[in-house]
Amino acid sequence: MKKLGTILLCLMAFSLAGQTTFSDTVKLKSVLIQGNKHQHHQEQLDSAVLSDPQHLNLGDLLSKKSHLFIKSYGIGSLATISLRGSGSSHTQLNWNGISLNSSMNGSSDLALFPLFFMDEVTLNYGLNSSADGTGGIGGAVNISTVPRFKKQLNLYVSANYGSYGQRQYNARIKAGNKKFQSITKIIRNTADNNFNYKDLTQEGFPQRTVKNASFTQKGMMQNFFFKLKKNQLLEANLWWFESERNLPPLITLRDNTELQKDIALKSLVKYSKYFNNGTLKITTAYIDDALDYVNERANIQSNSHSKSLRTRADYEFNWKKIKFHSQVKYNNNRAVADGLTDNVSQNRIEAYTKVKRKISENFSINVSTRYLNVLKDGSYFLPQLRVEYQNKKQNSRLFAVVGRNVKYPNLNDLYFHPSGNVNLKAEESESVEIGGSLGKSLFRKKLDVNGSAAVFYNNIQNYIQWEPTAFGFWKPSNLSSVETMGFELFAELRQQKGTIKKHFSSTYSFTSSKNFEKQHEFDESKGKQLIYIPEHKGNVSLELEFKGIVFSTNYQVIGIRYISSDNVEFLPTYSLLDFGMSRRFSLKQKNSIEISVGIKNTLDTEYQSIEWRPMPNRNYFIKIGYQFKT
């Protein structure tokens, strides 16, 4: 507690120092990047990418545009993140800086996060996620809504029709002036998901149709932004999302009826104050997640309900060549569920301080510490050191970072009935990462070339794993140490020649994620890749814009995923090729209509992302969007 007290005192001192630099100057940043911006340790995807109808959901988008691997059970089904070889609970999903990961199982189901709700998605790889909190051993995905203060009334509606009964309706109203903005978004998304597949479990491999896979999603998001003064912003956000999905059985099973209903209600209030050389941000969110599961065959009806109060305050300021960032966080997580022993709760306090100093024109050094205290259960001290080289003239950057992170057990790990293990230790990681990026403009700035690369190493101690027991139930335990290492490459070309714009981008990642403990002589998992984590993942995309028509194509390759820890069983490599074309028609009085068509899985690849769960073959979509602007 002494450490915590010291850090809090530091924070207060910094806050007082900041008050002296108060100024009326507005520094509201409104970043809008056309396309995706890829640096060595961070990647930003803006509204232009997010609104591309080729991307069904956040998981689909991240799978194509980043180094993330998405473990997907199918359209609308459970989709979890694996980043840099870590597990699904090792990547944080943040909404305006507040973690949305389930307090019960620690992970996020990306199928429950509609892209239409997001204006910007930022990925922070590895230790770069630590500025937002602990737990992001693999990294963090940050989603946010971005206001643009101007007098406007902007109405947008769209309808997207696809194969297998996919229907997606979106509506958005943006209204406001230079002091107030309101953004309202409404979605409704349904699919029958009744695609055909080759049944590899039956002799002769007959064609069958997926059953019990339909879903309905509906939701609304409301954002209010108030510019209180020239340098103060208050925002209030409400997120309601309801999903009802049937869970299709494995193809090795006969018909089964499983249903999952998720209801999420998230509210977030954020206050920002901008000084001459600093900012203060206070964010508080209340997150209410309910899940009802029904299994008719097993006569199971289970409910779980979690409620979290998550709050953070950040103060950043510049002093001479030094940048300071201080942060305190408080999370209160509570849950009631059939699977939990009782009403359970957990309180976490975090304090963070970062000091970044320029030591020469091009070099800077960055030292940070984060302190996590889980009330009554332990505390962790997480230092980090980063060295950066940046040459603005040559548009090049290099960095090296070393540090620690921690992922504290979730409520299910600790209290799940009957086998929650209150003696579980936190997963602790030590990481090193080196990377860089380079950008060049050639041919009189008609061709932009960008590239980035990163190499990482991560050692995770006390890796938590759930296993069945010989006595009929599953139990989590701290098993072993896991080492992940690999490298990530990104290359991009942008060219504009007259009215023709070309954009080529490509990503490749190699990920080694291995267990280094052996239970006995017959245990063959030592030194082997963890299951369902591909070593190789690559993506190539090309966009061509000509006379208002945009052609796009995306080719994605996912390497083999081992499905047994001794790496004897695996799912084969698969690749997916998508095509899309869109055209915007300008109408009178700033009205416009956009029509998009596309083919997904053009090569009709038969593949399984998860064993014995078929994925859709070639399918089509058409989207019509109408926009009215004042």
Partner: protein, 341 residues
Amino acid sequence: MKQLIYVLILVVVFSCRKDDNADGPVEIDNANVLILNEGNFNFGNASLSLYNDRDNSVDNKIFQSNNNGRPIGDVVQSATQIGDELFVVVNNSSKIEVLNASTLQSKTSIQQLNSPRYIEVATTQKAYVSDLYEDKLYIIDPTNHSVTKTIETKGWIEEMAIANGKLYLTHVDSNQVWVLDSTTDSLLYKIDVHIQPQFIEVDADDNVWVSCSGGFNGGKSALYHIQTSNDSIVSILEGIAVEDKIGEIEMNSTKDELYYIGKNGLYKMSINDLQLPENSFIDQNLRLFYGFSIHPINNQIYIADAIDYQQRGVVYRYNKSGVQIDAFKVGIIPGDIIFLN
């Protein structure tokens, strides 16, 4: 740019490996030890392994090999040989695969089931099938592979045994052993036992032994010795501590010794003992004893180790004195070992 494309092409080329499951049917020869590999629940990776104790050879995935590459399904729970047919209960696939016991080729399957667990044979034309979810006991006719009748049980039934002309079934949900007349199928008695009775065996005196796991809330495990002549409890044996768990139980060939999986490994006791053994007969050490069987003729002990539940498990073969003879790799989560006639 070209280099990047080359890298991607290389990735594709080197990532494609040959699937090694495409061999043809395997001759059964004299192999007679069949390992049931449960596989992970909802992973569809159950399999059968065939072991020949004469030359120590193993054929994994023999069901797939002998059935045109078709996987057997999700969670192979148990298997029972009836005549020259092997009835394999595939729990989460809701079926019983009926195999030719000589070729392990599928003849048919019984599909009208929910979550079948175990089979207990009454006569050549009558067998009982327990179920996890259905609240019923099925009666099947093994000769025509059909369900002929169901009996309401209002709960989850695990293992069953026939002794003294009666059917004894472990009624998990009610913490009871139910006694049925195996001719009329009428309920005779309900015997209260410890929490979660799951395994049952018949001894040399035609009495039954039932192991109760103690459940999930820290209850004690217990072993019940029930006299079948009057359905009274002869003895209740329980460990000193909650950790002294009792899992699967089996009898030796003469049915005068009882073996069970406990906290530290495999334990052995006489059916006349009035307390549980203090020390294990075969130490588990760092291994994970998940299931076991005793050869009905030579009393060799086969113990299945699931290791980490995510890789091919291993089966250890011991002689009756507990000295290891052999060990061999099988499929994922080996749960039971069957000796074919």
